[in-house]
Symmetry: C2
Subunit: 216 residues, 2 copies
């Protein structure tokens, strides 16, 4: 049984670290990386200015830790869905099941009632505004995408290899365009006809579009 005083201190420390983490993630996701200062984060989180350096080392290290944790979680969820699709279809899942494993995790995160809604925006932003560290990590992330490419190649052995890769690239573009600003713009353009709230409906729309594109 731990010393109650120590336990309380540990809890406080963990709470401070967690507050910094989630506040930073939210501010970075909403306003970009370079625009948000350490002072913005600590003042909004209600913690001391020095906490970022104490708990994470530097602003960049904090950024990278958020990035690493969120991408790991997302990749794990995608890999799990791909694996389930594979077992469900005797090791040869069809295109639609593969694409669902790629689309569903970030889309479900993005639903209005999901805590991770902001995490998706963070990850998308990291793809274009990330630091050198993050871009290196993204290059290593290719191994994760490779499993999806393999599954797609197996599902469509009749297609030229490069065609499958290009179409996977198009699908990734569809996902990365799901930013708050783009949803808002579409909402204006369609005069309110597009309802971002209906995530399962959007998933079906994306799958219909991408599956047809893949079977062309």
């Amino acid at each position: 049984m731990p010393d109650p005083v120590t336990a309380t201190e540990d809890t406080n420390e963990a709470a401070t670290k967690a507050a910094v983490f989630s506040t930073a993630e939210r501010l970075f996701a909403l306003h970009g990386f370079q625009s948000v200062s350490v002072r913005d984060i600590t003042s909004e989180a209600g913690v001391n200015l020095a906490s970022v350096n104490y708990h994470f080392g530097s602003k960049d290290a904090l950024l990278f830790e958020i990035f690493r944790r969120r991408t790991a979680e997302l990749n794990r969820e995608r890999a799990r869905m791909l694996h389930e699709a594979s077992t469900r279809h005797d090791g040869k899942p069809p295109v639609r099941a593969i694409l669902e494993a790629l689309f569903a995790p970030p889309l479900r995160w993005a639903s209005l009632e999901n805590d991770r809604r902001i995490s998706v925006q963070f990850i998308i932003r990291a793809r274009s505004e990330g630091t050198a560290d993050m871009r290196e990590a993204l290059a290593g992330d290719v191994s994760h995408l490779a499993r999806f490419a393999e599954a797609l190649l197996a599902a469509r052995p009749d297609l030229p290899r490069e065609t499958v890769f290009w179409r996977l690239h198009f699908c990734l573009g569809m996902i990365h365009n799901n930013r708050f600003a783009e949803f808002d713009r579409l909402h204006v353009l369609s005069d309110g006809a597009t309802r971002e709230a209906d995530i399962e409906g959007l998933l079906k729309r994306m799958l219909d579009f991408a599956e047809a594109g893949f079977l062309a």
Copy 2:
């Protein structure tokens, strides 16, 4: 006939302004907006530190002017292609011709031998990292997209309105994903099978994919 001295000065002034403009566009496109300082721009352009403020007013105003000029050029080219497709098809262009007017201009700009290759990267970056001014301008840009939406609705009157808007959104995502970093990543993933240099081939691939998705 202008005074030769004045003409030379005017030319020098215009040359300085143009050097600042194109150097800034390139650096912003390659490294992001906040990462590039006025000092970076002026030293790389070989002009004085004060030239940015003298010729453009401020760093943000310079950014906005680049953004405004490039998006105007791109929108004009797209509108022209859409108009030509419309006359070619008696006012009712098919989906593929509409999408070609949307895809071809930014893709052709992105070809290796095109001077505007860097401008596309600038515009894409502006969509996610732009200032408040630029985001406002993007909202006004909806009128330009509305013409494409109208054409698509006319080409597929059988589809629910919101379906057409969502699919247009997916197509825009395909375009916006054509960043240098994403091309590089795809190149690694496909082990060199995807050749970014073949722009006309890529255009055909995008049209095949998107047209099939639209006709689903």
